[in-house]
């Protein structure tokens, strides 16, 4: 019997008519069975939500503690540096010429050795006689005054203090402290945590978590329920600024679309609306560029998708009735270099070798993926914890 004849068969017509007419009377005991299942489900949901809130609170507290730890650490570093050295303000240092006149010198172009300066205690006028030397030694026990030469006497009497120790033929006094020039005292973004003490590895490991919104109609159109991404990556620093990274990230992508945006199973079903939930394994390959000393970075890369699980719902109308057809399978299909991703973000050091990163991203399709052959767009923001090995 053909499909067109099925509505003419009297037996089947009888079945259809009776099926539509009959309603079984309600039984309370059946509701009680359902109510027990609902209460069990509510209890599980309550515990799940509680765990999520506790986890979120823990992350917030850890982030807050990390911020205060970082702030304190920076202040301690600053205090330590101030305690252990005095920083001379930058400027042009007067030189003493052989004829006693002043000559300005450019410290920045002078050889490094010459830029090592000495800090004086209250300026000591070098002795010109042994009596003066003894007097000076009484007041400044740490100083070892030597008798000045004739040239030095002229310089002293002109009121100028010698700054360059190495310029003098004789050492006039023994300095109490030697400090490093301010040029070397300058602290960069990356030097705060003693990275110069040990040679850092070129590798780093990151853990990523991100909410995401997916669409098959365009980058930001038709966004519905959020999905999420979670995974780990490993990075290799080719240079100080440029690194390459790869890893494994699991995505849960949720999207909806009209029949123009998909092609499923040779188009057996042309639905009014399709909604999909896919669990995807993302294998990224990214280049990351760090903007020196600013904390900002940008990245671009390619992702390959392995479809772990695909679930689709199709809503369609037939014979003035609305039907929903559901399909789900662990397809395992592979789509190499299916999406391109770009991102930019900010990195905050939270501890030695640990950094916290915030990284908004957008992923655009290069080819279709999945059993529904969709072009999958995603937007979201990674929160990542990076550890330098």
């Amino acid at each position: 019997m053909s499909d067109s004849e099925k509505y003419n068969d009297p037996l089947e017509e009888l079945f259809r008519k009776k099926a539509e007419e009959y309603h079984l009377p309600y039984r309370e005991e059946d509701w009680l069975k359902l109510e027990k299942k609902l209460e069990l489900q509510d209890t599980r949901r309550f515990y799940r939500n509680t765990i999520r809130w506790v986890a979120a609170a823990a992350v917030f507290i850890i982030a807050l503690l990390s911020y205060f730890t970082l702030d304190n650490h920076q202040r301690l570093n600053e205090l330590n540096r101030q305690l252990s050295e005095e920083i001379r303000p930058p400027g042009i240092l007067p030189q003493i010429t052989p004829d006693g006149s002043q000559e300005e010198s450019d410290r920045d172009t002078a050889p490094i050795d010459d830029q090592i300066t000495t800090v004086l205690e209250p300026p000591i006028t070098p002795p010109t006689s042994s009596t003066d030397a003894e007097e000076i030694h009484q007041h400044h026990p740490s100083a070892t005054p030597l008798l000045a030469s004739e040239g030095d006497k002229k310089r002293i009497h002109s009121g100028l203090h010698v700054a360059k120790q190495t310029a003098l033929p004789h050492t006039l006094y023994q300095p109490t402290e030697v400090v490093v020039d301010q040029q070397f005292a300058q602290v960069s973004h990356t030097e705060t945590y003693d990275h110069a003490e040990t040679k850092p590895s070129r590798f780093s490991l990151s853990m990523h978590l991100a909410p995401e919104f997916s669409s098959i109609s365009g980058p930001v159109s038709g966004l519905t329920e959020p999905g999420y991404r979670a995974g780990i990556t490993i990075s290799y620093h080719v240079t100080e600024q440029l690194s390459i990274s790869t890893g494994i990230i699991q995505n849960i992508s949720r999207y909806t679309g009209s029949q123009q945006t998909y092609q499923f199973n040779n188009s057996i079903i042309n639905a009014d609306e399709m909604s999909g939930t896919c669990r995807i394994l993302d294998i990224p390959l990214r280049f990351v560029y760090d903007f020196t000393n600013s904390g900002f970075f940008a990245s671009a890369g390619i992702s390959s998708y392995i479809m772990l699980n695909e679930a689709y719902k199709f809503d369609y109308t037939e014979y003035n009735q609305i039907y929903t057809y559901e399909w789900e399978d662990r397809t395992g299909s592979r789509h190499w270099m299916s999406n391109a991703t770009i991102s930019a973000g900010y990195e905050l050091p939270v501890h030695t070798n640990w950094d916290l990163r915030l990284e908004p991203f957008i992923s655009v399709p290069l080819r279709e993926v999945g059993r529904a052959n969709v072009r999958l767009y995603s937007v979201g923001s990674y929160v990542s914890l990076r550890y330098r090995l």
Partner: protein, 175 residues
């Protein structure tokens, strides 16, 4: 009134959930009884279907009719149960029609719809499911093949056998 009940169900209010269950209990059971071998199995399918209805009530589009929406969920749940019990039937021989017949005679009585359900329950689960999906729900053989993971040929064959068996049962009842 239905809008208010659906709104309450979206907020997981137990009172609204019970009202919805009472409202569509008879309609739902008239579907699940056709896919199950006895009333208890039908109640199990119906309750599982309502769990899915309450979980997905937020995805229901209020601009569309509600009855077809829950009908689809109930049918899908019935098919899920069919798949779950497939292996069990194959191992334990629950396809024995005689067992099903004797069980139905103790439960069902009276009106003609129940006789129809009784006749359907005398079919094997495979024949019964294909018959329900094709004749009463209106799916095509291609769609049925996709839902039940069988070939289109198997779907057509099962339908033909279901029709033949039903005619035999009907003739026997009329004698």
């Amino acid at each position: 009134m239905l809008d208010e009940i659906i709104k309450g169900c979206r907020q997981r209010q137990r009172k609204s959930q019970k009202e919805l269950y009472e409202m569509f209990y008879g309609y739902g059971m008239s579907i699940t009884l056709r896919y199950s071998s006895n009333r208890e199995a039908g109640v199990t399918i119906l309750n599982d279907a309502f769990m899915k209805i309450f979980d997905n009530i937020r995805q229901y589009n209020p601009n569309r009719p509600f009855r077809p929406w829950i009908r689809r969920i109930i049918i899908n749940t019935a098919i899920d149960h069919y798949h779950k019990n497939e292996k069990l039937r194959a191992i334990s021989g629950l396809n024995n029609e005689a067992d099903i017949m004797s069980e139905q005679e103790t439960i069902l009585s009276g009106i003609s719809y129940q006789e129809i359900v009784a006749m359907l329950n005398k079919l094997t689960p495979a024949y019964r499911t294909v018959f329900n999906l094709y004749v009463i729900e209106g799916f095509t053989h291609e769609e049925i093949a996709g839902m039940l993971n069988i070939s289109v040929g198997t779907s057509k064959s099962n339908l033909a056998k279901a029709r033949r068996n039903l005619r035999t049962i009907l003739e026997k009842n009329l004698k």
